[in-house]
Chain length 210, copies 2
DNA sequence: TCTACAATCACATTATGATGTGATTTTACT
DNA sequence: AGTAAAATCACATCATAATGTGATTGTAGA
């Protein structure tokens, strides 16, 4: 089994050394590049023979933030997997990092052994999250049980048609009612939702706000 | 430290027994109810003294599916944490389960020891995902960098305005061009995307289809 | 240089959407 | 029986959107 080539972007030299010393002692992992900033890292990898397969990335760095650096790193190394290793555990940082393309997110409190485990999991195509972070991620899926009693069943039919891109006429046809009925329903929907355009309705629908 | 009260909903009796035997041998976990269906489980817990704090839930059950059962379980036991334990690893099942309110998702291939670990993690307010499942979840955040060369930069500006719910007039004002220019852009956009209404445009935009 | 294309604007017509007022019917609850 | 809410339809009006035809300018590439 070949070694896992690892890159580290971390501006705290103490943590740099701690990680480096630890991975040096691991036969499975080879740390090919350590930098203090994304800018520096991107420059350095141009002269490397073996490119990193996985990057441990901090957020709070000297130059650009780790989150802003993700697209740049992925651009240079399209196949790299990025593991965030950071003290920031706020929902916003987690969300932004994942949206930018990070595949795992670890708290800096994570023991070295678990970090190694995460690297191995990721190198096998999986993903590892710190438990507290995983919980925050799943909460983004199911926070709003909006349950919407706002709209009546018929109104929901109408909304479905609109979100589908149908015109009032088409909706009227599909539901076997007159176009004036459709209009009335839409008037009532707009009133209930306090909006006044299809665009807002579609947005609300996609944002699960009904 | 008090025991963790566990419920299990699983229709395969072999797995039922295997889980039960295993947890019986664990001092930290107390299995208070095992049922083969959500319906049965909901009935049974009414006569229990100690209610489960965590439920291991299968998807493929005799009556209603585990996913459909999640809201009912949460309704009866609002503070319960639900861990999916299932063979289904398709994105859709995972997504639906999390949206319905499950807090963890384990493959049935997960070793008993890891299942126990997951239960403990969840009981401490965290969440544990099988690595392959965690990867699928993070992929839902940063899916396709569609990069769409379909639309020109200016056309994208126009689309942004439309998706924002602005009228042509407002867009024209914002971009310092005439409303006729906006109209022309939109005509071209519709032609390129082979659509013919704002609604469809907004839908495509929200679905990342441009 | 010729060409393609993005971006700009104009004019014109028809279609669709937004909003108001008012009315009838059915169902469900008090 | 009375009331409320949901669903249905009509008529009217103004605003906005969709679509066609035609034209100019600037820029990037064959």
């Amino acid at each position: 089994m070949s070694k896992i080539n690892l890159g580290i972007v971390e501006d705290d030299t103490l943590i740099q050394e701690s990680l480096n010393d630890f991975f040096d002692a691991q036969s499975e992992i080879d740390c090919v590049q350590i930098s203090s900033s994304v800018e520096d890292f991107l420059t350095s990898i141009k002269s490397l023979e073996t490119l990193p397969k996985i990057i441990l990335l901090d957020i709070n760095l000297l130059g650009m933030s780790g989150i802003d650096g993700i697209p740049l790193l992925l651009n240079e190394l399209p196949k790299v997997d990025i593991i965030m290793l950071t003290t920031f555990e706020d929902n916003d940082s987690i969300y932004k990092a994942l949206c930018a393309g990070a595949c795992s997110y670890l708290s800096k409190k994570t023991p070295l052994k678990k970090i190694k485990e995460a690297i191995e999991v990721v190198s096998k195509g999986g993903s590892y999250m710190s438990p507290s972070i995983a919980r925050k991620i799943v909460n983004t899926f199911a926070p709003k049980q909006h349950k919407s009693n706002l709209l009546t069943p018929r109104q929901k039919d109408i909304v479905a048609g609109i979100v589908d891109g149908k015109s009032y006429k088409m909706i009227a046809n599909d539901l076997f009612v007159s176009i004036d009925t459709v209009r009335t329903h839409i008037k009532n929907i707009y009133k209930t939702l306090e909006i006044n355009s299809k665009a807002e309705l579609i947005r609300k629908s996609y944002d699960n706000e009904l």
